[in-house]
C-alpha cells in the first residue's frame, strides 16, 4: 500500500526518471569506451605484429631460412612477446613457440584466436590473441601473432567497475528519491491539511514554517500571508456587517417613529403631510449615506485603493483648499493653506479627495467661531507625502485618539453636531488602503482661551513622477 502510493508521487517519479536517464547515458558511454579501447588495442597490436613480420621477412630475404629460423629461436628464448610459427613448403612445422594456432591460417588475413597458457601458479588461461600468416618466397609460411589477453582483462575489470558504480548510483538514487519524496510528501501533507481545513471554513489554521528558505517554505509563508489577509478581510467584513446591522437600527427606528407620528398628525389634520414626508426622506437619505460610507470603508479595507494612478497630490491639495477657502466664513473661521509643489503619490484621487474633505470639514465643524484652520501639503524629511489639517479647537484627549478612528465612534463632546461617526474611519481606511496612515496630535496648544487644538495628518508613501506628465492622463 505504501510503495504504490509512493510511485505516484512526483519527487519519486522524477528520481526514477533521472536514474533511468543516467543508466541509459552511462551504458552508452561505457559501450563506446569499451569498443573504442578494444579497437585501439587491436590496431596497435596489429601494427606491432606487422612491423615484426617486416623485420623477419627482411632477415629471410637477406640471410635465408636458416637465419630466420635461428632468429625466431633467439627471440623466443629472449622472451619476446610475439608468437611465432614457421612451416616449410610442405606444411611441416619447423619452429613454433605456440601450439594451438587455428587451422586454415594461411589465408593471409588477420586471425583471432584463444591461446592456452599456463601461468606461474599453474592456472590454465585461454587468452585472446591475434596473428597473421604470411607466405614466404621459398614456399614457407611464417605466422606471427601477439597475445592481447591483458587488454581484454583490463577492459573486463573496467566494465565490472563501471557496473558496480552504476548499481551503487541506482541504490543511492532510489534511496535518496525515497527520502526526498517522503519529505516533500510530509510537507505537502501539511499544506493539504491546511487547505482542507480552510475549505471546511477554519481560517485560523496556519502552515508551520521551518525557515529553511526553500520553495516549500516560501509556499507555506505565502499561504499563511494569504490566510492572514483572508481572515482580516473576513473579520472586517463581518465587523462591518455587525456595525451596519447594529448602527442602522437606531436611525431606522427613529425614521419609523417620525413617520408614524407624522401619519397620526396628518390624519388628525395637525400637520402638512408633505412636510412629514420630506422629513422622512431626509432621514432616509442620511441613512443611505451612512450605508454607502460603511460599504466604502469595508471595500477599501478588503481590496485596497481601486484604480490607482500616479498624480500630483499638490494639485489635489490646491483644489481642495480653493473649494473650502470660504467655508469657514460663516463661522468667522480663518482658513489658510500652505502647499508645496510636486508631491507625487499613487492612489485613487476621488477617495483621497473625500478623505481631505472629511478632515477639513471636521476641522471647520469642531472649531468654535473665531478660530483658525490651517491646511498643509508637504514632503516630510523622510520623503513621505503629508497632508495635514490643524485647528485651534478643543482637540481630542490623547486617550481617545485611537478610538475616534473606529467606525461609529463619536465622542460625547461631539454628539451635539450632526455626523455619522464615520468621517475619520473613512480617512483611516483611505490612508491604509494607500499604504499610509493617520496621525493625531495636539494642535498649536492652549492659549488665549482656546483649546489645545487638533492636528490630523494623512501620511502617504511618495511615488516617482510619471515619465511624461502631459501623457499621465
Amino acid at each position: 500500500m505504501r510503495l504504490p502510493s509512493l510511485f505516484r508521487r512526483t519527487p519519486f517519479r522524477l528520481t526514477l526518471l533521472f536514474l533511468a536517464l543516467f543508466v541509459a547515458t552511462a551504458s552508452a558511454v561505457m559501450s563506446y569506451v569499451y569498443m573504442a579501447s578494444a579497437a585501439e588495442a587491436r590496431s596497435r597490436a596489429e601494427a606491432s605484429v606487422r612491423a615484426e613480420v617486416e623485420t623477419l621477412i627482411g632477415i629471410y630475404r637477406t640471410r635465408g631460412r636458416t637465419a630466420l629460423n635461428q632468429t625466431l629461436i633467439d627471440r623466443t628464448l629472449r622472451g619476446d612477446k610475439y608468437l611465432y610459427r614457421l612451416r616449410d613448403e610442405t606444411g611441416q612445422v619447423v619452429t613454433a613457440n605456440i601450439s594451438d594456432i587455428p587451422s586454415g591460417v594461411d589465408s593471409g588475413e588477420w586471425e583471432t584466436f584463444r591461446l592456452t597458457v599456463t601461468d606461474d601458479e599453474g592456472r590454465v588461461q585461454r587468452r585472446q590473441s591475434i596473428g597473421i600468416d604470411t607466405p614466404l618466397s621459398g614456399g614457407e609460411h611464417l605466422f606471427v601473432g601477439e597475445d592481447i589477453g591483458d587488454i581484454e582483462a583490463y577492459l573486463e575489470r573496467l566494465t565490472q567497475a563501471l557496473w558496480m558504480a552504476m548499481i551503487l548510483v541506482l541504490v543511492l538514487g532510489i534511496g535518496g528519491g525515497l527520502i526526498v519524496s517522503r519529505r516533500v510528501e510530509r510537507a505537502m501533507g501539511r499544506l493539504n491539511r491546511v487547505v482542507s481545513a480552510v475549505q471546511e471554513g477554519d481560517l485560523k489554521v496556519r502552515v508551520p514554517v521551518r525557515n529553511s528558505g526553500d520553495e516549500l517554505d516560501e509556499l507555506s509563508q505565502g499561504l499563511n500571508t494569504m490566510l492572514d489577509r483572508l481572515e482580516g478581510s473576513m473579520a472586517s467584513i463581518r465587523h462591518a456587517g455587525d456595525a451596519i446591522a447594529h448602527d442602522l437600527r437606531s436611525p431606522l427606528t427613529r425614521m419609523r417613529a417620525k413617520m408614524e407620528v407624522a401619519l397620526i398628525d396628518a390624519e388628525a389634520g395637525r400637520i402638512n403631510g408633505v412636510d412629514a414626508l420630506e422629513l422622512a426622506l431626509g432621514e432616509a437619505d442620511s441613512l443611505l449615506k451612512t450605508f454607502n460610507t460603511v460599504l466604502a470603508i469595508a471595500r477599501l479595507q478588503a481590496g485596497g485603493a481601486p484604480d490607482p494612478k500616479v498624480f500630483d497630490a499638490a494639485i489635489l491639495a490646491r483644489d481642495m483648499a480653493e473649494l473650502y477657502e470660504y467655508s469657514g466664513e460663516e463661522k468667522d473661521i480663518e482658513f489658510e493653506s500652505e502647499i508645496e509643489c510636486d508631491l507625487f503619490v499613487e492612489g485613487n484621487q476621488p477617495f483621497l479627495a473625500q478623505a481631505l474633505a472629511n478632515l477639513i470639514d471636521n476641522a471647520i465643524k469642531y472649531t468654535p467661531a473665531g478660530g483658525a484652520v490651517m491646511f498643509r501639503a508637504r514632503r516630510r524629511s523622510d520623503g513621505a507625502i503629508e497632508y495635514s489639517v490643524t485647528d485651534n479647537g478643543p482637540g481630542i484627549p490623547e486617550e481617545d485618539r485611537e478610538r475616534v478612528l473606529q467606525r461609529f465612534v463619536r465622542l460625547d463632546s461631539s454628539r451635539t453636531e450632526a455626523g455619522s461617526g464615520l468621517g475619520l474611519s473613512l480617512v483611516t481606511a483611505v490612508a491604509e488602503a494607500h499604504g499610509g496612515r493617520i496621525e493625531l496630535d495636539e494642535g498649536p496648544g492652549a492659549f488665549d482661551g482656546r483649546g489645545p487644538g487638533l492636528r490630523v495628518a494623512l501620511v502617504l508613501p511618495p511615488a516617482s513622477p510619471p515619465e511624461d506628465t502631459a501623457e499621465a492622463e
Partner: protein, 223 residues
Amino acid sequence: MRILVVEDDAEAATAMVRGLSEAGHEVTHAVDGAFGLLEAQKGGYDVYVVDRMMPRLDGIGMVETLRKGGDQTPVLFLSALGEVEDRVVGLKAGADDYLVKPYAFAELIARVEALSRRRETGGVQTVLKVGELEMNLIARTVSREGQDIDLQPREFQLLEFLMRHAGQSVTRTMLLEKVWEYHFDPQTNVIDVHISRLRSKIDKGFDRAMLQTVRGAGYRLEA
C-alpha cells in the same frame, strides 16, 4: 423633450416614467438593452436614460452598439455600481453622464435636462447671454446691464456652467462634478458657499435676483 428609459426593474421604471412625465417630458420605456436598441433605432429621442445592468443586452453593450452605429444622442447611465472604475468604463463606452443609484429625483431630472441642452448648443460660442447677463468667453469678461463684474477664475467657470444651463435646475453634485471635476461627497455646504459668493457679485445691487435656489434640488439661473 422625448426621453427613452431603458430599465429592467419594473418598479424603478414606473417611478422614472412618472417622474419624468410629471416634469413635462414624453417618456418611452424599454425593458432591456435589446428592446432599447430597437426603440432607439426608430429615432427621434433627445436623451437615453440607460440602466447599466440588464438581462440580454446590458447598458454598456447597448450604448457601444448605438455609438458604433453613429447615434450621438446623449446617454445618462444609471448604475448601482458607484466605484470609480465603473464610472470610467461607463463613460468610455460612450455615455455622457453617470448617476449612481439610489438618486434623488431632482438630480435625475436636472442631469437629463442638462444633457439635452448640451446637444442644442453644440456649436462654438464666444458670447453667452442670459437676459441682461453677458459673458465673453474669449476676453473672459462678464457684465450685467452693461456693468462689468469682476470674477475669479473658478467663479467664471461656475457662472459659465450656470449660463449654459440657464433656466434649468442644476444640483450641487453636478456643480462639483462639472465645475470642479471632483467626484466625492463634500459633506457640508461648500458649493452653497461658492454660489452665495457668486450671487453677491452678479445679483447684488440689482433689483432682481437671477441666481435662484431651487428647494430640494439646487440652483437655477433665470433670465
